[in-house]
């Protein structure tokens, strides 16, 4: 078997006494559709930040396609194919939707170092295609600051895809989207080629189970379980982790075949 695309071993991140991510070991094979779930504060976003390099690890190793990237900076890792959408939209607010996506597209399709104007036909073409994919084709010239929350989430997705990632990390991409918007997002993500490995953090378990072929449950910074969606839905420890968080119902309402009652 080839090396997994993303491999975490003993990854830990402490904030003072709090171990937000605690000794996480996890392999994500290339082409995976992997979900990372867990109650609020489980450390999901922090784990993503450790993978992208936005935050240094306290301990542990991160490998990307077999290469140790633990010491690489965030831009270096991004250039090796890691791209993400953030839980809280982080865009270029004074610029238009098109200009936002172009910033990402010009890195792969354009001449981003060029000190003189360029047509950047390839980057523009890619931007147009992506905006159509996420459903913002007619919003290209609108300033991002004038977009609705859901639309900004869509720009986030277009921005992440414009980096042409091999590893795509999505942190609650559907949060704040309307049902129609999130259905479109699921379709878009399902249509991604196998060359893109997807890891998604999502509270909307409909989205999770529609996308993921494997699921890792994180609880208090630790990996509780990694398995198929059915295994995860049926696991009592997972249900207990979610008890009292108001999200137990998500498991009980699940339409999956392995649905189980908790007594």
């Amino acid at each position: 078997m080839t090396a997994p695309l993303l491999s975490l071993s003993g990854v830990t991140r402490s904030f003072g006494a709090l171990r937000a991510v605690d000794d996480v070991t996890l392999d994500v094979p290339a082409g995976a559709r992997h979900a990372l779930i867990g109650p609020n504060g489980a450390g999901k976003s922090t784990l993503f930040k450790l993978v992208t390099g936005e935050m240094p690890v306290t301990a542990g190793r991160i490998r990307l396609a077999g290469q140790d990237v633990t010491r690489l900076s965030e831009p270096q890792r991004a250039r090796r194919g890691i791209s993400q959408t953030l839980q809280h939209s982080s865009l270029f607010l004074s610029q238009t939707v098109e200009q936002n996506v172009l910033l990402a597209a010009q890195r792969r399709h354009g001449s981003r170092h060029s000190p003189v104007p360029r047509r950047q036909a390839a980057a523009r073409e890619r931007t147009r295609a992506l905006l159509a994919d996420v459903g913002l084709a007619d919003r290209a010239t609108v300033p991002v600051a004038a977009l609705s929350h859901g639309e900004r989430r869509q720009v986030e997705v277009a921005l992440a895809l414009a980096c042409e990632p091999t590893l795509l990390l999505l942190d609650e991409p559907a949060a704040g989207m309307s049902p129609a918007e999130s259905a479109r997002l699921v379709d878009l993500l399902r249509a991604l080629p196998e060359s893109v490995t997807v890891v998604v953090v999502e509270h909307d378990l409909d989205v999770v189970f529609a996308l993921a072929r494997s699921v890792t449950v994180l609880h208090l910074g630790r990996v509780l379980l990694t398995g198929t969606p059915d295994e995860v839905r049926g696991d009592t420890a997972v249900q207990e982790a979610y008890l009292g968080t108001g999200r137990e119902a998500l498991f009980l309402d699940g339409a999956g075949p392995a649905r189980r009652e908790v007594g």
């Binding site: 965030e74 831009p75 200009q99 910033l103 600051a145």
Partner: protein, 346 residues
């Protein structure tokens, strides 16, 4: 970005409102016509303005280029510098010394001045652009004061606090330019080329990356850009263009004082950028015109209260035109076309 998108507007970290929308198609021919008319008027100035007025306009042009170079840092990259006059001063001293000791050939003095400004910025920028916010302000302030002090104390070279005076007049192809009109045309040509260079940078993919860094540096990092490199390059470029303006200044005024490299010049220039509208290039050029006019024309007649008047203008501008003169134009062009968006750009 690309040829056809105008530079985004908006002060760094402040507002993103009336600014960053692409200009509507209909207004582009209008802008081109206006630009051509302005060019023709500028070129014809010496034919119908007296030498004193022509000289004042030359100085305005020099400061316009200087202000645009600062705008590359402040408005486009989001790095407010309090020491930008250092590169202007270095350029001016370089041009003055070259003219005195070697050749007064205008193209040579001015180009060497630009190189000197860029080298000075390159030597200090790697430290300065690692910081941001107040620390960047403080560091650039310190760098500016350092250059100011150097100019003052190295009196065998720079003439100390008396300044460098008696700089020979600019020559073009060996002929000294003695008439104010010829000097003006030389200045105009260099300023236009400099402005063109700055505009190209601003409209390029590199310029788009600078605006990305201004708006959201963290996100740029996650997109695979290394902000340090871009900011450093912008700092050096801005230093080079400021040096170019300084070189013109030396040839035009023919005396360089340490204060031309000091804080008061830097502050005045920052005023011009904010007054005109940071991030638009043309706005700060207009702002520079206002600042020079107020300082040079009305300053002396107000018994030395020129700075006070400038202060009042500044306060009024910040209240009445939060996006500068350029913002005013943007609001007019956008009325009825766009929902207002009032959100911070962080």
């Amino acid at each position: 970005m690309t040829v056809d998108s105008p530079p985004a507007r908006g002060t760094p970290g402040a507002t993103a409102a009336a600014g960053g929308t692409p200009r509507r198609r209909g207004s582009r021919p209008l802008a081109a016509v206006l630009g051509l008319v302005l060019l023709a008027v500028l070129a014809a100035v010496p034919l119908f303005v007296d030498p004193f007025g022509t000289n004042t306009l030359s100085r305005i042009l020099v400061f316009a280029l200087f202000a645009m170079s600062l705008d590359l840092l402040v408005g486009i990259t989001g790095l407010p510098s309090l020491g930008h006059a250092a590169w202007f001063g270095i350029g001016a001293y370089t041009a003055g010394l070259v003219a005195e000791h070697w050749t007064a050939e205008g193209v040579v003095t001015v180009l060497l001045a630009a190189v000197a400004g860029a080298v000075g910025a390159a030597a200090t920028g790697w430290l300065a652009v690692r910081s941001s916010g107040v620390f960047f302000l403080m560091l650039t302030l310190a760098i500016g004061e350092l250059v100011h002090q150097l100019a003052q104390s190295a009196d065998t070279v720079t003439g100390g606090s008396n300044g460098l005076f008696g700089i020979p007049s600019i020559r073009v192809a060996g002929t000294p330019l003695t008439l104010a009109g010829y000097v003006y045309w030389f200045v105009l040509a260099v300023v236009l080329l400099g402005a063109l260079g700055l505009w190209l940078v601003s409209a390029s993919p590199f310029g788009a990356a600078l605006r990305g860094i201004r708006d959201n540096e963290a996100r740029m990092r996650s997109l695979g850009y290394t902000p340090f490199r871009y900011k450093y390059a912008a700092f050096v470029l801005a230093g080079g263009f400021a040096g170019l303006a300084g070189g013109l200044f030396a040839g035009l005024v023919r005396i360089v004082n340490p204060s031309d490299a000091g804080f008061s010049t830097s502050a005045l220039l920052l005023l011009a950028v904010i007054l005109g509208g940071a991030g638009t290039l043309w706005g700060p050029a207009l702002g520079a015109a206002v600042v020079v006019l107020v300082r040079d024309t009305y300053g002396p007649t107000l018994e030395g209260h020129g700075p006070l008047l400038l202060g009042v203008v500044f306060v009024l501008a910040v209240y009445l035109l939060p996006q500068g003169v350029a913002g005013l134009a943007g609001v007019r062009a956008g009325i009825g076309r766009r929902r207002p968006a009032r959100e911070g750009s962080s």
